[in-house]
């Protein structure tokens, strides 16, 4: 309580002052209620029943109503209410089912006035009529509500909810005869006090028990309810059917709701379990509480506004045995802690930015977004002029900035993703292929990286000796170039390679040379720092790789051919079309767990032995003293980090997968996971499901790998009887027919199967596609208008 605010409010002649304060009770409180004059509060619980005077600085115990040597269960209160007409009159609901009234005007020590032992089970709630002095209503676990006239010994009328336990009863504030009751089964009933035979209206408000309700003090038609389903709902009862007009989702079951006086849309809530805070919500802003009181250390069991017309003072009792007075000035406002700005990139580099309007408007003078700001969209919320207690203007603006079409094009991403091969071939081939793909898309830097990776990691024997000789000559030729570029240039160039390409890449081969030679320098320098004498072979070997690249460039045609060959590559090997035969059923039974089978198939593909070892040629001796690939690990790691940093997580992940164990241990698991998730997220946003699936499958992170093991169940209906299929096999147990028939060719479908969600018919993907090109009706002839999207 560092920040103690003192608040004074004048209400008529009655002045309320105070500060945030609390006092210890001896026992947990179950409920509290406040006297009409706002100067006293009564606290009731299993082992406590006391009246406190609310003074300026503190609570002062005024009266202990729990008297007698061995207090009986009648003192064990589930609820308490102080009459708003007569300040001497109190009523409690005892856990043993007794309703007790108390008269403070009695001269004796025991203020107990009347006992009503009509309920058979615990009474959950008692409620005085707002204007009638002698009328008391109770709701009990036994499913009955009873109305008592305090001048008589017994109840005047009994209302049977005809359903489960009553959790709350509340007299309507404006309608003299109406009261609302909430039930354990989720219903709310409206009753006319004159008609005990049946309810006027009933509706289901919540899923599970409705713990509480509260009529709006001003708007006669509004009723707020709170339930175990963690919702607070506001119902408009003016219409024929109760209409839900607001709904607030909280984080725990709602135990109490209380409208805030003088604020049309504010409501205070506390929860039954787990969450100890008291929230005050603006029902129009259901996502963030407008104020929050965090003082209690156990669940809050009772909340009440101190005065009928004062919105600044809230009293609360709790299971932690404290009674609090909260001052609104001291409330914490979650909105202050919330980040008021939101920022998000779209797939194509567009940027959406939402912020408080004040922030935006001050910025708009600057107008820094030159051409990019094509059509910023604004959302504004009008302030409600009648709302005087709005602390923070809730209006915000959303702007969308579009990048120009050219630079923002993510075409290269999609094409790269589709064309890269990540597994299933020897490393060298993978690298070569991917390098070619990159080059095709004018991403030379990436291409270079792939090439170098091949050189570093793949067995040198794959390079034919002829090629090698060739490269020796040219390699030396490229050496002079080294001096013309320095490293820094390259670094800056790397960031925006496309620009670099355009500015310098008049002739492509040259550009490549530049890249390669600069990397050479890089390697060279590394060598020097190591302080070892560089074997000439090594240098040559390195250059050879680049040369190889050059060599490929020279022969445009074969290159193109290869491209063609690669293009149709799918994320996973397509299943060969299976010849449909009647005996297919047996197969189905055999492969009871076929989801695994296909997985294995893919694995065996990726595990095909590297064939190239046998090709080790004469030149082998030349490379005997070549550095081990481990030596480059730090560089490769830096390279991966660099690409990730640049936002090209695609490259990072692809390299990670291709290199596999060679590099994996160099990078900590969490970073890898982060990369994988980013890449998968991107792929999925581009709807490249197959590729993302392949990446998931190839990843070695456990967290990623199990991604596509979740929700693998596909619920299907039998094509014949249209009812859900049982969980075993493809045969419907109702009509005993195979459900996996193609509606077009009437054969059993294995492999890709497409269904209509509307009529459950389907078949081979190709067949259905073809069929629906020409017809819009279902091929099965069921008359359903199927749609293929």
């Amino acid at each position: 309580m560092e920040k103690m605010a003192r608040v004074t409010t004048a209400l008529g002649g009655n002045t309320i002052t105070g500060r945030t304060m609390f006092c210890h009770l001896d026992a947990p409180a179950n409920a509290i209620s406040v006297c009409r004059d706002a100067a006293q509060v009564v606290v009731a619980g299993r082992n406590i029943f006391k009246i406190y005077a609310i003074e300026e600085e503190q609570f002062v115990e005024k009266l202990n109503l729990r008297v007698g040597r061995k207090p009986s269960l009648n003192f064990s209160c589930a609820d308490v209410v102080w009459h708003q007409m007569d300040e001497n009159l109190l009523a409690t609901a005892a856990t043993n089912g007794v309703v007790v009234t108390w008269n403070l005007g009695k001269p004796s020590r025991n203020k107990q006035d009347q006992l009503f032992t009509e309920h058979k089970r615990t009474v959950n709630k008692v409620c005085f009529h707002p204007t009638e002095v002698y009328m008391l209503l109770s709701g009990s676990q036994d499913g009955y509500m009873k109305c008592f006239d305090l001048r008589k010994k017994d109840s005047v009328s009994t209302f049977s909810g005809q359903s489960e336990s009553v959790r709350d009863v509340q007299f309507s504030i404006r309608d003299y005869f109406t009261f609302a009751a909430t039930f354990e089964n989720g219903n709310v009933q409206l009753w006319d006090i004159r008609r005990p035979d049946r309810y006027e209206r009933m509706f289901t408000a919540h899923n599970g028990p409705v713990f509480c309700c509260d009529w709006h003090p001003e708007d006669r038609g509004w009723l707020a309810t709170g339930g175990r389903d963690k919702m607070v709902k506001v119902w408009d009862m003016n219409t024929n059917r109760a209409k839900e007009i607001y709904c607030v989702q909280t984080i725990a079951s709602v135990a109490r709701v209380k409208w805030r006086p003088e604020c049309k849309h504010h409501i205070a809530t506390c929860s039954m379990m787990v969450d100890h805070n008291i929230y005050v919500w603006d029902v129009r802003r259901p996502f963030i509480p407008s104020a929050m009181f965090e003082e209690h250390k156990d669940v809050t069991t009772g909340i009440v506004w101190r005065h009928l017309h004062d919105p600044y003072f809230l009293l609360s009792g709790s299971k932690d045995s404290t009674l609090y007075q909260h001052i609104f000035k001291d409330a914490s406002q979650p909105i202050d802690r919330a980040n008021p700005e939101g920022l998000c990139y779209s797939l194509y580099g567009d940027l959406a930015f939402a912020a408080k309007e004040s922030l935006i408007s001050s910025d708009s003078n600057r107008k820094p977004y030159i051409g990019d700001r094509r059509h910023p969209i604004f959302f504004k919320r009008k302030l409600d002029p009648t709302e005087q207690f709005e602390y923070i203007s809730s209006s915000s603006a959303l702007s969308v900035f579009e990048t120009d079409v050219e630079s923002g094009s993510m075409d290269w991403f999609v094409r790269t993703a589709k064309q890269y091969v990540l597994a299933g071939r020897p490393l060298a081939e993978l690298c070569d292929h991917n390098a070619a793909v990159a080059k095709e898309l004018d991403r030379n830097q990436v291409a270079q990286t792939w090439t170098m990776l091949r050189i570093i990691y793949s067995s040198p024997g794959t390079v034919s000796s002829a090629n090698l000789n060739h490269s020796m000559g040219k390699g030396s030729a490229s050496l002079p170039l080294m001096n013309s570029f320095n490293l820094k240039d390259i670094q800056s160039g790397m960031g925006s390679e496309s620009r670099l390409d355009r500015s310098k890449g008049e002739s492509r081969p040259e550009n490549i040379l530049m890249d390669s030679s600069s990397t050479l320098i890089n390697n060279d320098e590394n060598e020097e720092t190591e302080g070892s004498d560089v074997p000439a072979d090594y240098l040559l070997g390195d250059v050879e790789g680049d040369e190889d690249e050059l060599y490929m460039m020279d022969h445009e045609n074969p290159h193109a051919e290869e491209q063609e060959y690669i293009l149709p590559q799918e994320a996973f090997p397509l299943r060969h079309e299976i010849v449909d035969n009647p005996s297919a059923l047996d197969h189905l039974q055999d492969k009871a767990d076929s989801p695994h089978v296909s997985g294995n198939e893919a694995e065996t593909v990726s595990l095909t032995p590297v064939e190239s070892f046998s090709l080790i040629s004469i030149s082998h001796s030349l490379y005997e003293n070549r550095l081990p690939p481990d030596f480059f690990s730090p560089i490769v790691r830096d390279m991966l980090l660099f690409y990730a940093e640049q936002g090209d997580v695609q490259m990072t992940v692809s390299v990670l997968i291709v290199l596999g164990d060679r590099i994996r241990k160099e990078i900590d698991e969490q970073t890898q996971e982060h990369w994988y998730t980013s890449y998968i997220d991107l792929l999925q946003r581009f709807q490249l499901w197959n590729i993302s699936n392949e990446v998931i499958k190839l990843s070695t992170c456990r967290a990623i790998n199990c991604l596509n093991q979740a929700s693998t169940t596909l619920h299907i209906n039998c094509t014949n009887c249209k009812r859900p299929m049982s969980n075993k096999g493809w045969i419907c147990d109702r009509c005993r027919q195979c459900a996996s028939m193609c509606a077009v060719c009437h054969h059993v479908v294995k492999g890709l199967f497409v269904w209509c969600q509307g009529c459950s018919h389907g078949g081979h993907l190709q067949h259905i596609m073809k069929w629906l090109e020409s017809s819009s009706h279902c091929p099965a002839g069921c008359g359903h208008l199927c749609e293929y999207t």
Binding site: T122, K297, G599, E601, K728
Partner: protein, 559 residues
């Protein structure tokens, strides 16, 4: 709209018929029960085909001369297949499969193979078979049996007995299915291991045996079944809480929870712990049901069958020869029912009659009921039957048992006030937060069992039994120290006869001591299904009591 059904890699998404473990455990011999998964299929044709294949192979594998003794014993595959056939011939919900199995067994017998015989008759040793296996059972009941059979490969005896109350069974089945087989924080084999630990506390060899099989099927390490000392430390840490929940749930404190959750190598996550707690309480109370209804061992488990023809003596133990109802006791029993009816009516009609009763008196009545429950200890003369090692090895500190918390002269732990921590408000809210689906199902299950009634009592119809049911429910809670402020415990005394109290107390607190005598001695004129109903109330009340204690401890830990 068309929907792409690229199930995984375009394969046909046939769900796993059996967990991989089943296949792994296959014996090298050709005849292994694991291969006949098709028998559990829904499809009639599949079953038929599998059955035919099984028959062919079985008969082929046996030379017409029959097998020598040595060969018989050697072939475990054959042994298991025979048991499978015997089980199916008794409990398969599909009539034609049942029949074929019996035929096959007979054919084998004809070839000189020693076929197993069922020991005891029917699923329960207390209830006569005819009661449980009524021909043309209700369709609801049959549907659940089929569901159980198809998804787990057997209709166990518990399910059969519960089938007397189909409405409850379906709720029970869904909960158990979720707990054991659906997604959850704990791996499947550990769930079964926890079930074993829980059942072993009550020396319930039936459940232990059942779940040892399931544990292996789920791919559990057979090593663990050597005993608790072979299980990982994490599971062993659960032992303390298991012990307490089984016998004296009121002793559980937030320190126990803290100890399990504190970070460390073998720590539990809150979600895991909740599932474990639900499993533990579920199996403790299920053990009560097993003993309370005298569930027989599964046919294909130890003690459920014999390869020798039954000796005449074992026939005697079949409950068909009912001695309780007939004879001189008949008239008395009739009167008992009438008296009970009368009392219920009185209680329901004139609640106000005893207005004069002071609160102190109500309090003393609860205390009285509690202390009196001390006296209804079961006769001590029942010898501690020696237990097979394979159950005891899962128990540490076997001497820890139920102890009345209101021993004179000792400081009793404070009474649990039902209104301060109810299932509907607090328990549900907590569990729903940590393990969502199960909260809903448990809530449903409690409601179903609490409201279950057929408005019958013995030979009477149209009876409102709510007071009686509430008395039983509250008595069970009373035995575990939970008190309802709004309940007059005098009613318990009026409605529950002594023999019933003894039975309830025994089944709830030390089920292993239940005897057939106890079962037959209470409510001698009531139907068996009504006695099973009592057991269901007992099961759920007990589970709720233990859960409330456990959840309250967790709540305290969290605040």
């Amino acid at each position: 709209m068309m929907d792409h059904g690229e199930a995984a890699d375009g394969g046909t998404p046939v769900p796993n018929a059996l967990p991989a473990g089943e296949q792994a455990a296959v014996a090298p011999r050709g005849l292994d029960p694991g291969r006949w998964v098709g028998l559990y299929s829904r499809g009639e044709r599949t079953r038929e085909e599998t059955m035919d294949a099984l028959g062919r192979e079985l008969l082929n594998s046996i030379p017409s001369t029959g097998l020598s003794q040595g060969e018989m014993e050697e072939s475990r595959g054959l042994h298991r297949t025979l048991l499978l056939l015997l089980r199916l011939s008794q409990s398969c919900p599909f009539g034609e499969t049942q029949e074929k199995c019996s035929q096959l067994l007979q054919a084998l017998q004809g070839r000189g193979i020693k076929t197993p015989q069922q020991l005891g008759s029917g699923p329960s040793s207390f209830l006569p078979v005819e009661e449980i296996l009524q021909e043309g059972a209700e369709s609801a009941q049959r549907r659940i049996f089929i569901e159980a059979f198809v998804s787990t490969g057997r209709v166990d005896n518990i399910t059969m007995v519960m089938g007397l109350h189909p409405e409850y069974l379906s709720s029970f089945w869904r909960t158990q299915y979720l707990l054991l087989r659906m997604d959850g924080p704990l791996p499947h084999h550990k769930r079964h291991y926890i079930a074993i630990m829980a059942a072993a506390r009550h020396q319930c060899s039936y459940l232990v045996g059942l779940h040892m099989g399931e544990f292996l099927q789920a791919g559990g390490d057979p090593e663990w079944l050597q005993g608790l000392h072979c299980a990982p430390q994490k599971l062993r840490n659960l032992n303390e809480i298991n012990k307490i929940l089984a016998h004296r749930p009121w002793l559980i404190t937030k320190e126990h929870i803290e100890a399990l959750l504190k970070t460390g190598e073998n720590s539990w996550s809150l979600a895991e712990l909740i599932q474990a707690l639900v499993l533990l309480t579920h199996y403790h109370s299920l053990a009560s049901f097993v003993f309370g209804c005298g569930i027989n061992p599964e046919i294909d488990h130890e003690g459920g069958h014999a390869f020798q023809p039954p000796s005449p003596r074992s026939c005697d133990s079949s409950p068909a020869s009912e001695e309780g109802v007939s004879g001189s006791g008949g008239r008395d029993a009739m009167q008992e029912v009438e008296v009970l009816m009368e009392r219920m009516k009185l209680l329901q009609e004139c609640q106000l009659e005893e207005d004069g009763v002071t609160q102190e008196e109500m309090e003393t009545r609860f205390e009285l009921e509690k202390t009196e429950s001390l006296l209804v200890n079961p006769s001590v003369d029942i010898a501690e039957h020696s237990l097979p090692h394979n159950v005891l090895c899962f128990v540490e500190d076997p001497s820890f048992g139920y102890k009345d918390f209101t021993r004179r002269g000792e400081q009793a732990p404070p009474t649990f006030r039902a209104q301060d921590y109810t299932w509907e408000d607090h328990g549900y809210s907590l569990i729903n937060r940590l393990y969502p689906d199960v909260g809903q199902l448990l809530d449903e299950k409690f409601q179903v069992v609490y409201n279950l009634t057929y408005h019958t009592m013995a030979m009477h119809r149209g009876v409102d039994t709510s007071t009686l049911r509430r008395a039983i429910w509250n008595y069970v809670h009373c035995v575990f120290g939970i008190r309802y402020d709004d309940y007059n415990y005098g009613e318990v005394n009026q409605l529950l006869e002594r023999s019933l109290k003894v039975y309830i107390k025994t089944v709830a607190c030390y089920p292993e001591k239940t005897t057939r005598r106890m079962y037959t001695h209470f409510w001698r004129h009531f139907k068996h299904s009504e006695k099973v109903h009592v057991n269901l109330l007992l099961l759920e009340a007990r589970m709720q009591a233990a859960l409330l204690y456990a959840l309250r401890a967790i709540t305290r830990y969290m605040t």
